[in-house]
Amino acid sequence: MNNVIIIRYSEIFLKGKNFGFFEKKLFDNIHEKISNFECDLIKSNKRFFIENYDIKNEKKLIEILGTIFGIHSISPAIKIESNIELISNYISTLNIKSKTFRVTVNRADKNFPISSIEFSKNLGAIILDNNKNISVDLHSPDTIVYVDIRETKFSYIYSKVINGLGGMPVGTSGSGLLLLSGGIDSPVAGYMMARRGMEINAIHFHSYPYTSESAKQKVIKLANIIKKFTGSFKLYVVSFTKIQENIHKNCSSSFMITLMRRIMFRIAEKIAKANNLQCIITGENLGQVASQTVESMTVTNAVIEDLPVFRPLISFDKDDISKIATKIGTFETSILPYEDCCTVFLPKHPVIKPSIDKCLKEEQKLDIMKLIDDALKDIEIIDI
């Protein structure tokens, strides 16, 4: 008899011929994250088990599993030989603190000599005998004692089923470049795409001295928070100062944000392609600010040559985004009020419905290719 942690897969179950690929990726991702602990990760019949760990580390291991996409649920359990007497003996030691309970036996091993229903009844009776002030409730019990009798000649007994993050294992759905601003939305956008199995890298546009070193440190901090979910990645920090100054000097102020975003997209696509990343990801959200109207997004999208642009938060309310940000731990950092590169040159009346023609006309006042080339020469790459 020993302690184990049962790990159940999420929707990768639904995969057909590629199931092995998804399963292996999830296995590798878990293995990497728990590599600091002395334990065994075992694959067995469409589940993973962590075994031979120090019980003191169980809580920490479960916490880590709670940050890995592709896991449906987690249960700390007792692994015991599939033997009526051994299981009954163990059940008799349980001290159940709640008022009501039920026992659910799942007999995957059809050779086990007693039916699930009958064994449940017997075990329930043992619990009743050994715990005072407790009664059986089959419909909505406070505690369910699960007894999982597997084909492996071993059974698993547990009562906790902890929800995992769901989604797909990171690394099974390609890779993308996230525009990470330092606000509330973009870290959440990165998290959402990683949840669908995408490997994330990020780009940040820095405008020193209009924004301070603290603003950059804030973005690095945010990147480190989402790293917990996405795994290690590269953060490309691009100096945007010259570009902003040039737009400000030469172009109509109402187009400031639109032109900035068109240039940011161009730079992002170049960096993505150069690093074999397959898409651009933004935290844009329809109607939140002037640069997030469908017209604005049309003109920013128009500069992208090949890659798709994913906006996982497009239909979310700000409240919903904030809730996810709080859950993943980025909210408190995101709301630190350092200047970000969009606020410093914010025009009083930004254009809400820009047209591509007008943008092109404004851009003729700039040497765009040179500005972009210069920015690309001066990239700081930070390993997160």
């Binding site: 020193y208 001295p209 209009y210 924004t211 301070s212 070193e213 100054e245 400000h248 000097k249 102020s253 630190l336 009020p337 350092y338 200047e339 410093v344 040159f345």
Partner: protein
């Protein structure tokens, strides 16, 4: 070049040089019963007495704390009683008082804030209006950390005590001690907070000086040090730095004051000659050590970064609160938002020189002009 001395200061060389000796002789635990522990205790008591003497506070008690923030918290929570009906606090207080009274307000106490004048000092008329016989605790700072305004504490104490002689009056003297004349006997306050690192001592040490009649309740429990009011082994090195810093500052007060006043006058005179558009938010009755100044049309954070590139370090509002947007104190002074957004705090110490101020002016002139040129629209 460091012009953010209201946030902290460089430790005095004398203190650093004497540390070895202090460590050799007085590293012992002052609570220990053997002779060396007792010697350390005697040394500690001598330092306590000398600090009080230097502030003309020989009839007062002094409790060493881990910071002035802790001393301010002790002043509020240590005297808080259920029967205190009303607490009066200036709206211009440091966050260590302001946020503390906001917390007790949440706990159900009635807290009223006193308005500020345009120069940042407490509005005495507003104080008179709000000072009623049911006010049990007052906290008003001696010198404002944002703009250097000096409050007339003696007048405030007279008004308050004439209405309720039992009212407890606390004064945060962190930016006053060692910079302007502090005579606690004359001020007649019940509690007074001081800090080491604002006057070339160490960070992590402060003290609350208080009237012997005040019965302070501890906010930290443990081994019963500091007369059972502030448990925790006494930080002898930090306390030495506070004692020595007070001693040096008080005994050189006039020389340093004249020197800093000279720096400030020189700064303003030279700045006027540059033709740069600026507005000074520190009035006539203020400490020359702190200047609150807006460089019109420049965003403070950007200007701070540009100056930092020139190796000049200035403050952006209060360093303790620079992470919070807006600025409560400048707003209370009635300063328009455009001037708050362009506000820097330039604060001097005895170590700054006329040459440094010359370079400061040169750099401000260069940075402001470059900045304005870059953000200017050409059409």
């Amino acid at each position: 070049m460091f012009f953010d001395n209201a946030s902290t200061t460089k430790v005095d060389d004398t203190i650093i040089q004497n540390l070895k000796k202090i460590n050799d002789e007085f590293f012992y635990n002052p609570s220990a019963l053997y002779s060396e522990g007792l010697k350390t205790k005697i040394f500690l008591e001598k330092m306590r007495k000398d600090i009080l003497k230097n502030l003309n506070a020989e009839d007062y008690e002094l409790i060493f704390t881990g910071s002035a923030t802790e001393a301010n918290n002790l002043a509020v929570f240590g005297t808080l009683k259920k029967n205190i009906r009303k607490i009066l606090v200036s709206i211009g207080e440091h966050p260590s008082i302001y946020n503390t009274v906001c917390e007790i307000k949440n706990q159900g106490f009635q807290v009223e804030f006193i308005k500020l004048n345009n120069d940042g000092s407490v509005d005495i008329d507003d104080f008179k209006n709000k000072m009623t016989s049911d006010v049990g605790l007052i906290s008003i700072m001696h010198v404002c950390n944002e703009n250097g305004a000096i409050n007339n504490i003696e007048e405030i104490v007279n008004i308050a005590k004439s209405i309720n002689e039992k009212v407890i009056i606390h004064c945060d003297g962190v930016q006053a001690v060692g910079k302007i004349n502090v005579n606690l006997d004359n001020l007649n306050v019940d509690m007074y907070t001081i800090s080491a690192h604002k006057i070339h001592g160490f960070k992590g040490v402060g003290a609350l000086i208080f009237n012997k009649k005040i019965k302070l309740k501890p906010i930290i429990y443990g081994g019963g040090q500091e007369n059972n009011i502030r448990s925790g082994t006494e930080n002898v090195y930090g306390i030495y730095s506070l004692y020595k810093a007070v001693d040096i500052a008080v005994n050189n007060l006039q020389i340093n004051y004249n020197h800093v006043m000279n720096l400030k006058n020189h700064f303003i005179e030279k700045l006027e000659n540059t033709g740069i558009s600026f507005k000074l938010h520190s009035g006539n009755n203020c400490s020359p050590y702190i200047m609150s100044i807006s460089f019109l049309g420049c965003r403070a954070e950007t200007l701070l970064n540009l100056l930092s590139d020139e190796n000049i370090f200035v403050g952006n509002g209060s360093a303790c609160s620079s992470k919070k947007s807006g600025n409560r104190i400048l707003e209370a002074q009635g300063i328009p938002m455009s001037e708050i957004e362009s506000n820097l705090r330039i604060s001097f110490s005895k170590y700054n020189t006329i040459e440094e101020v010359g370079y400061l002016i040169e750099s401000i002139s260069k940075c402001v002009n470059d900045y304005l040129l870059k953000i200017k629209k050409h059409f």
